[in-house]
């Protein structure tokens, strides 16, 4: 008896540790997300405080059309109690150019250009070296950037600006310090004298007016008076309001970031539920005699249930506490990882708040208790008779769980369907519906999959019986003997891999859509489009046209306006005479050459949606708030480039504000692309604000970006996969323990250690493969739904990366082999005499 107890304790030690590990990792990730967002929030909160410190009141434009001019500043300045008022400009569309022609442009943080506030109290910054900018052709930069980039005071540098010229040369006259210690969180700051800023930033109205009071009247009184100067469309904020507003802006970004991290943690915890539930289930069936005995001597089902839940509670508490500590370490790891992939996070503290601890403990304990709930109920229902008769430890998929599984799968599918096709506008509602729907669907599929887990395991293991003979055959039969256990263990892997495969399929679809676009629609040899801030200066088109290496250069401009009352309809202009040389818009009716100032070319889809045909008229809202009628003279089918109306340049000027290009198609003059390549290279250097690329470069660029995103996503989902891996180790270890006698018999009649290893490891591999195949299947299904649900210009023709999916399944098989390593060693080391005795 002592022997059995000793074995039980030893087995439980491993079981408890492995069960806890799943929780530790999940809670750790949740905590690290909270720690990171708290830390970033504090860091940016300090920044916000520094920005607004010194500004007593600020007038903001709520309505972007409301004017805010020099005259308004003058009106404010005469309000009693106002010491000084200054109008501000600020944009993120100006970039300094390094002497080598490249842009100073960090990947994450912005480059902010603004007007230099003269009043020292109002200005959160102060001159560090040199002097403040005093007129046109002068600029200053924060001293950290100056040091890093080697900008020298007195030198003249080029700046990329959002004007038609695209460039401005300016002398660096000074450097400044932002706040106390220039803690800009990575942002690059530039400043100009106010009038210069208006020109370079292409602004007419101030973004805001900052006000300092002279202390003769209370802020609230001055505020009321200033408010009296303005009608609707403006708001007047005091320091506290400003701080809140600035922080809120930062916090929104941090919150999104934190929720991205949390969603991966939630997936990991969701996977943990399967692992823990499975572990408790197996252990309960192994302890059925003990439970039966408890029932026989008078324990009520409730008492037994509570005992089991109590065990879960202890595991949950210990694991959660450990998880929070691990989370602190993970926060540093995540910071390093995120910076490693180019996030450029500012330095920040890693505060362990009470809230983080409370959330971590609650989440961990609740997840453990939820996981143990069903096993605990089952344990409570143990019949006292089993104390004598025992049970064989297997539990075949019951009718009830099949029905529940079916209901959950259908319900989950329905919710997912509503989310994808129900026209839900709110992002949070959409995400919650999608998440809950997918979760229910996955649980349902898990319950249902126990129906087919046995035949699938046998099919997958069939080659093993041929390769490894009897040990292989036994591996296959062992995987198939307890379908519910195999299904649940595999489910953990299925969840992680379904998300990875979904991402793979969507990524592949993106890439193949891009290829289709480049092959069928784009005829141009090269294309130029905005690098960052949406500005391709007009001069580049004339420069390109003048270059002998190029033949046709066609620019495209996009805008949106109301057409037939439809808000936000795309409208664009291009050179219709040369259009065909760079783009094949797939004309289905009419002729592009007939487009005049009173006519338009229209996308087929828009025409169909609005019941329009060739010869009909559309009503277009103009910039001056009047409308005009345009007759449809051409209909085109291609939707990859453009889904709306095309008009002439002259007509465009009455509709859109924008006078820069969004896209420029370029054809080489001769067949020799080598010369053109060199010229394109030169243009790319001359216009750092523009990306000038060949179709191949563009393709490689986008493909690289998609692959990079897939890599990051897979990396984060790696946690869920790691937990699934732990689950396989756990289940296999428990199965080995459960089959001690059987293993002893096998060893006695001549199974070698190596054969025992083979048998156990391949069983783990089969379980893993079952999960991987279900995961890939569900992932493809999810991806199909997403592709169908999203508009065609985002995702059009489904493309499935079979090779990647097969590689994924193979890797999962290897993971299984690895997961089986430790249990296999245990099985091989088994003392034959102990096992059969």
């Amino acid at each position: 008896m002592w022997n059995i107890t000793r074995k039980n304790v030893a087995a439980n030690k491993v079981r408890l540790a492995l069960t806890a590990l799943a929780i530790v990792l999940g809670v750790g990730f949740v905590s690290s997300a909270n720690i990171l967002s708290d830390g970033l929030r504090d860091s940016f909160g300090d920044l916000a405080a520094e920005i607004v410190d010194g500004t007593d009141l600020q007038v903001d434009r709520v309505d972007s059309d409301a004017p805010l001019t020099r005259a308004d500043v003058e009106r404010i300045e005469v309000v009693p109690g106002v010491r000084v008022a200054e109008g501000n400009y600020g944009e993120d569309t100006v970039f300094p150019v390094r002497p080598d022609g490249t842009l100073v442009r960090p990947e994450g943080p912005p480059v902010l250009a603004f007007s230099w506030t003269v009043d020292e109290q109002l200005n959160p910054s102060a001159i560090e070296q040199g002097r403040a900018p005093e007129g046109p052709g002068e600029w200053i930069v924060d001293f950290s950037t100056a040091e890093r980039e080697g900008f020298v005071i007195g030198e003249t540098y080029d700046l990329v600006v959002p004007t038609a010229e695209g460039f401005a040369a300016a002398e660096l006259v000074g450097t400044f310090r932002f706040g106390e210690d220039n803690q800009t969180n990575g942002a690059v700051l530039l400043a100009f004298e106010t009038t210069t800023a208006a020109v370079l930033l292409d602004q007419t109205d101030f973004a805001s007016v900052s006000i300092a009071i002279d202390g003769t009247r209370p802020v609230s009184t001055v505020r009321t008076d200033v408010e009296g100067l303005f009608t609707d469309g403006y708001e007047v904020l005091d320091t506290a309001d400003l701080n809140a507003e600035t922080s809120a802006g930062f916090n929104q970004a941090i919150t999104i970031f934190a929720w991205v991290l949390r969603s991966f943690a939630i997936i990991a915890l969701f996977v943990s539920i399967f692992i823990i539930a499975n572990t408790f289930n197996i252990v309960m069936s192994q302890r059925v005699r003990e439970l039966g005995l408890l029932r026989a001597v008078g324990a009520t089902p409730r008492q037994v249930r509570r005992a089991v839940l109590g065990e879960a509670l202890i595991v949950g508490l210990i694991a959660s506490a450990t998880g929070i500590v691990v989370g602190l370490g993970l926060a540093y790891g995540l910071e390093a990882a995120l910076n490693g992939i180019g996030a450029e996070l500012p330095p920040f503290d890693k505060p362990l708040s009470l809230q983080t601890i409370a959330i971590g403990m609650t989440v961990g304990v609740v997840v453990t208790l939820v996981s143990a709930w069903v096993p605990a109920r089952r344990a409570g229902r143990t019949s006292p008779v089993t104390a004598i008769s025992g049970s064989d430890g297997t539990d075949a998929g019951s009718r009830r769980s099949t029905i529940i599984g079916g209901v959950l799968a259908v319900l989950g599918g329905a919710l997912t369907g509503i989310a994808l096709f129900g026209g839900i506008e709110t992002t949070s509602t959409l995400l919650i519906l999608l998440g809950v729907g997918a979760a229910l669907f996955l649980v349902g599929i898990t319950l249902l999959s126990s129906l087919v887990a046995a035949p699938i395991s046998r099919a997958l293991g069939a080659p093993l019986a041929a390769i490894y003979k009897r040990p292989g055959f036994l591996a296959k039969e062992n995987a198939a003997r307890n379908p519910k256990r195999t299904a649940t263990t595999a489910a953990a892997l299925m969840i992680g891999l379904s998300l990875v495969s979904m991402a793979f399929v969507i990524g592949q679809t993106l890439k193949s859509d891009l290829n289709t676009l480049l092959e069928t629609t784009v005829q141009a040899d090269y294309a130029a489009f905005p690098n960052t801030s949406g500005l391709v200066p007009e001069s580049i088109v004339s420069d390109l046209e003048a270059a002998p290496e190029f033949d046709t250069v066609v620019g495209f401009k996009y805008w949106s306006t109301d057409v037939n009352g439809r808000e936000g309809t795309e409208i664009g202009t291009t050179d219709f005479d040369q259009l065909n040389a760079v783009l094949d818009l797939d004309l289905v009716d009419g002729d592009f050459s007939e487009v005049t100032n009173d006519t338009t070319a229209i996308w087929e889809g828009f025409a169909e949606d609005n019941g329009l045909a060739l010869g009909d008229s559309v009503t277009v809202l103009l910039e001056n708030d009047t409308t005009t009628e345009l007759t449809i003279v051409a209909v085109f089918a291609d939707s990859n480039i453009f889904e709306g109306l095309l008009v002439t340049d002259t007509r465009w000027d009455t509709i859109g504000e924008q006078d820069t290009f969004d896209w420029v198609g370029i054809n080489a003059a001769g067949d020799d692309l080598a010369e053109a390549d060199a010229a394109i290279e030169a243009f790319a250097t001359a216009y750092p604000q523009v990306l000038v690329q060949s179709a191949a470069q563009y393709r490689a660029d986008i493909t690289g970006q998609v692959d990079f995103l897939l890599m990051i996503l897979t990396g984060f989902l790696g946690l869920a996969i790691l937990i699934a891996f732990i689950g396989i180790v756990n289940t296999m270890a428990l199965s080995v323990f459960e089959r001690t006698r059987e293993l002893g018999l096998l060893r006695a009649v001549g199974m070698t250690r190596r054969q025992t290893h083979t048998m156990v490891r391949w069983e783990a591999a089969i379980v893993s493969l079952v999960g991987a195949i279900f995961g890939a299947g569900v992932g493809v299904l999810f991806a199909v739904l997403v592709v169908v649900a999203t508009p065609d210009f985002v995702l059009n023709n489904l493309s499935i990366p079979w090779l990647s999916l097969i590689a994924l399944v193979v890797v999962a098989g290897l993971i299984g082999l690895l997961a089986g390593f430790m249990p296999a060693r245990r099985a091989g080391k088994l003392d034959v005499l102990d096992a059969i005795g």
């Binding site: 055959f473 036994l474 039969e477 198939a480 059987e742 018999l745 060893r747 009649v749 199974m751 005499l833």
Partner: protein, 262 residues
């Protein structure tokens, strides 16, 4: 009762398995227990030997050591002409697979394998082609021809033990070791199994060593060895139930039981 005395009885000629100065000690110092105390014994080819003795007499230890499941503290075990003490763990496993057959009291079969697969399991583990004619004969002899495709949970206890015996014989091992093979069976079913085992000895010249505490089971054997306190105390040839019971009641068997292993 020494080996020499056994030899004088002349019927068996070839030694299938033997233990020489077999000593097995568990624990150390104060808690040291001597399970086998310098046992010398031979088992002859084509003979059915029963080993009897009270709990803790060392009969299981003796059998496990002979069968290559356990290693001696000193002395040696020889199966055929192979000295087990010289074998590596792997070679010992291969020896069990090819030279030794096992029948245990319970849990003899792998639940995921059919009766036939269980019978051929040791052969299949070795990847050698089974001698189908021989296996057919064994299967027919145990009366399992119509049960071959069944899983163990579809067989009765008696049928399961018959499958186990068939498996033990399937590879024509040098020795079959049976540990209380009828301990979990009713007397009628048990008798059938024992009959079959005796037949295997008579008909196929199989060597069988059986550990039992049941005098009726032991009476099927050609020879009964009585163990107590890790030593062979006496031996009977061509026993019957009465002679076994008489031997068990003799002072040599009951003496110093209190010093035995628990």
């Amino acid at each position: 009762m020494t080996m020499l005395e056994s030899r004088t009885q002349a019927i068996p000629e070839v030694v299938a398995a033997r233990a020489e100065q077999a000593r097995k000690v568990y624990g150390e110092g104060e808690t040291q227990v001597v399970a086998l105390d310098s046992v010398d014994v031979s088992f002859f080819a084509g003979e059915f030997t029963a080993i009897m003795g009270p709990s803790g007499s060392g009969k299981s230890t003796l059998m496990h050591s002979l069968a290559g499941l356990d290693r001696l503290t000193s002395g040696r075990v020889v199966i055929g002409d192979v000295d087990l003490s010289q074998l590596s763990e792997r070679d010992l496993t291969l020896l069990r697979r090819t030279k030794i057959g096992f029948v245990f009291q319970a849990f003899n079969l792998i639940p995921t394998l059919t009766a036939e697969e269980n019978i051929t399991l040791p052969i299949d583990l070795g990847r050698a082609a089974p001698d189908m004619a021989w296996i057919d004969e064994v299967v027919r002899a145990v009366g399992l021809s119509d049960r071959l495709g069944h899983k163990p949970n579809e067989l009765s206890g008696g049928q399961q033990q018959r499958v186990a015996v068939a498996r033990a014989l399937a590879s024509r091992p040098q020795v079959v070791f049976a540990d209380e093979p009828t301990g979990n069976l009713d007397s009628t079913t048990g008798a059938a199994i024992l009959d079959f085992m005796r037949n295997a000895v008579r008909q196929y010249h199989q060597t069988i060593v059986m550990v039992t505490h049941d005098p009726v089971a032991a009476s099927y054997a050609d020879r009964v060895l009585f163990l107590a306190d890790g030593q062979i105390r006496s031996e009977l040839r061509d026993p019957n139930t009465d002679s076994i019971l008489a031997a068990l009641r003799s002072p040599a068997q009951t003496a110093s039981n209190d010093s035995g292993r628990n």
